[in-house]
């Protein structure tokens, strides 16, 4: 699942904290969820707008909920609106889905006045699985192995939201990744290219505004 992989890459596997600005992580996860619906063939994008092309329920409950919401709110079409809306609670939604899949466990961290529930890998198996997500991408790109569509979108989202250095550790790997990017992007369907581009733009705007 696209958003699951993105979640595991975007969060530190030891502290459970987000590696990016929280809003950037939210936008990346929102894009991951919309991307899943596109990969399932339920959603298409045209000139910055989203169109539901099939009402058939997807196998995953979170995707199903999101599809219902998209159908129920036809007055909102713009990708940027949906990214902004979904980014607000995408981290919790995807975190709970990972919890149901047994990949993470809820850990409550108390600060002075507030308590925050983090979804993070706890036991060694879960940690390995979490770390594998980024290693897998770096390996595939480094060895020029062919990647499936979902992974190509994942790499594009990683780069678009600024997670590059958490997947590709060495400067050489990062250069290789940047060189491979145009090829990866041109191999994606236009709907997903738009999704990635709007995500990158939205992350830029969110960071420029500097609000939490």
């Amino acid at each position: 699942m696209l958003a699951n992989s993105y979640y595991l890459i975007a969060h530190d596997d030891r502290t459970g904290r987000t590696r990016l600005h929280p809003r950037a992580t939210g936008l990346g996860l929102a894009a991951g969820l919309l991307g899943e619906l596109m990969l399932f063939g339920r959603l298409r994008a045209m000139t910055g707008d989203l169109y539901v092309v099939s009402h058939e329920p997807p196998g995953d409950s979170l995707c199903h909920t999101l599809l219902d919401l998209l159908v129920a709110q036809p007055q909102h079409k713009e990708i940027r609106t949906w990214l902004a809306y979904l980014s607000q609670d995408a981290a919790d939604q995807v975190g709970e889905r990972l919890l149901r899949a047994g990949v993470v466990e809820p850990v409550t961290k108390r600060k002075l006045l507030s308590a925050q529930t983090l979804y993070m890998p706890v036991n060694p198996d879960q940690r390995n699985a979490a770390a594998w997500e980024s290693i897998r991408l770096a390996e595939a790109l480094g060895r020029r192995r062919s990647m499936n569509l979902s992974d190509r979108v994942l790499v594009a989202l990683v780069v678009a939201t600024g997670l590059t250095r958490y997947v590709f550790f060495s400067p050489q790997q990062q250069r290789d990744c940047m060189q491979a990017m145009p090829g990866i992007l041109s191999s994606l369907p236009d709907d997903l290219v738009q999704l990635v581009q709007y995500t990158e733009a939205a992350v830029g705007s969110a960071l420029a505004a500097g609000r939490r």
Binding site: Q75, A160, P182, S186, Q197, L207, R211
Partner: protein, 508 residues
């Protein structure tokens, strides 16, 4: 955008609105950037002292009036631009990308000068507060401490949160109102003198040139449109907030300037003797000492908030320009975790420190030559920006009125443009008088010439970009979302996907 025929509750719009800013928050953001207490205690007394003219209250009211007129067209135009950023994106929409880049290259030194000038004021105020409590330090040490705090907060990208700003601003306004009331209740000689409000004074070129000083007190209202992406209802919230952000400081500053002059018999002489302590010395006989001490502390926090706000605007400008590839790419990259635009922040801090050291080594007066001169120079830059923006609004609606009424699309923008042209001309001619330099001093024309050179450089730079990087050129002033990924981290997209910048069809 919401359609008129709705089938049920608008879940998405409500969900988005919950987390967004309403009118008060946006006003606080804009007005706090302009820091009314800094303007009233710092600028107004410095204007009285340096220019030596008593028309200051009138000047603030007139400036507020002109800017209100300007805001009408400005806000109308903001309704038709996606991701309306700072002034320069308006200019590039209305007058073309070349002028837009020129404007950006004027904005950068202007805001930088403002921020550096405020460092001088911060040093002087902190020095006098410490001196009052028996600690003697140089203004330079205080300024450097302020500089260090801003530099650190800038790199960490800690914007004082909306709530902190709101509380500070509310207390600031309260104390200004108390001081004003006290000063107005005790006019000099027992009778109020309304001579300083006589509009006949506007006939002298010196008074018109003073408008630039007043306009420097309104710079925050540019910040309101930057928040349009964050507002509950970008169309309505931002419009109202921008009008408030002009009227509120205008009234406060005008009334305060009037209160000062009516309380003191010889305001110019008093201002020259007391400098930034002017207001405090005027109210001391009538209020408890604690209220004066609170005023001093608030003055310092207000100057600090203003410094941080200007630091943020400079770095935000650089970030936007870096993302649009006008500046080198490094300016467009932010720290992934905090989102801080490191390169811009460090650049501004380094320049500020160099200027501070230069002033210290040459033993130049921090209040007159650092604060007053730099903010006048910065104010001139901001005035040029506003003037160009008003021209851009006229140009934008001249091509297509986009269902705005005649007042908003034609009359108000044209009037604002003419008035600002007049003010700008008077300022350029009368700048020497404002700085109180001799007729043969190079400072009469130096600042205007620097801005002209910056503008020319911007136009040249844009021309080079058009020739060598047409993709990036097309994205100028379109914000981060207007032209998606003109030349993003992905290099040139294989299928450049262009989003139309004009959303008139959404704006109904």
């Amino acid at each position: 955008m919401a359609r008129t025929t709705m089938t049920g509750p608008d879940i998405v719009a409500r969900g988005l609105a919950n987390n967004r800013l309403g009118v008060p928050s946006v006003v606080f953001f804009g007005v706090a950037g302009a820091a009314p207490l800094t303007v009233i205690l710092g600028s107004i007394s410095t204007i009285y002292a340096v220019v030596g003219n008593t028309a200051v209250p009138l000047v603030y009211f007139v400036a507020a009036l002109i800017l209100s007129l300007f805001t009408v067209g400005f806000v109308a135009m903001s309704r038709h631009i996606v991701n309306s950023g700072a002034f320069y994106s308006y200019i590039s929409h209305g007058l073309g990308r070349m002028i837009g880049v020129a404007a950006a290259f004027i904005a950068l030194p202007a805001y930088a000068a403002m921020q550096i000038g405020l460092l001088g004021l911060f040093g002087v105020v902190a020095q006098s507060i410490l001196a009052a409590s028996g600690i003697a330090v140089s203004w330079f040490v205080c300024s450097v401490v302020g500089w260090l705090l801003v530099a650190i907060l800038g790199v960490l990208w800690v914007d004082l949160s909306g709530k902190v700003l709101a509380v500070l601003l509310t207390v600031e306004i309260a104390i200004v109102l108390i001081y004003d009331f006290v000063m107005l209740a005790h006019p000099h000689g027992g009778r109020a003198d309304f001579g300083s409000l006589n509009p006949v004074q506007l006939a002298t070129p010196e008074v018109v040139a003073m408008l630039v000083l007043a306009i420097a007190g309104f710079v925050g209202f540019e910040a309101t449109v930057v928040l349009s992406e964050e507002a509950k209802d970008p169309k309505k919230t931002i419009g109202r907030a921008t009008h408030w952000a002009v009227l509120l400081p205008g009234l406060l500053c005008g009334v305060s300037a009037f209160a000062m002059s009516s309380n003191s018999g010889d305001i110019v002489g008093a201002a020259r003797d007391d400098t930034t302590n002017l207001v405090f010395n005027l109210v001391t006989p009538y209020v408890p000492e604690a209220l004066v001490n609170i005023g001093y502390i608030l003055f310092l926090t207000s100057v600090f908030a203003a410094m941080l706000a200007f630091h943020t605007s400079v770095t935000r400008y650089q970030f936007a320009l870096g993302r649009e590839r006008v500046l080198p790419r490094v300016y467009g990259s932010a720290h992934p975790r905090t989102g801080a635009p490191i390169a811009g922040s460090v650049t501004q801090s380094v320049i500020a420190l160099i200027v501070l050291i230069l002033y210290f080594v040459t033993k130049t007066d921090p209040l007159v030559h650092l604060f007053a001169w730099m903010t006048v120079a910065g104010g001139l830059g901001v005035l040029i920006l506003m003037w160009a923006t008003s021209a851009a609004v006229v140009g934008f609606f001249l091509r297509d009125r986009r269902r705005e009424n005649v007042w908003r699309a034609r009359i108000a923008p044209l009037l604002a443009f003419l008035l600002l042209t007049f003010v700008l001309l008077a300022t350029v001619i009368g700048l020497g008088d404002l700085l109180q330099v001799d007729d043969d001093s190079p400072f009469n024309w130096l600042f205007s010439t620097i801005y002209a050179l910056c503008a020319l450089f911007g136009i040249g730079w844009a021309a080079i970009m058009r020739g060598s990087r047409p993709d990036a050129y097309a994205g100028i002033g379109r914000g981060t979302e207007g032209f998606v990924a003109a030349e993003s981290v992905f290099g040139r997209p294989t299928r450049p996907h262009r989003v139309t910048a004009d959303v008139a069809h959404h704006a109904a």
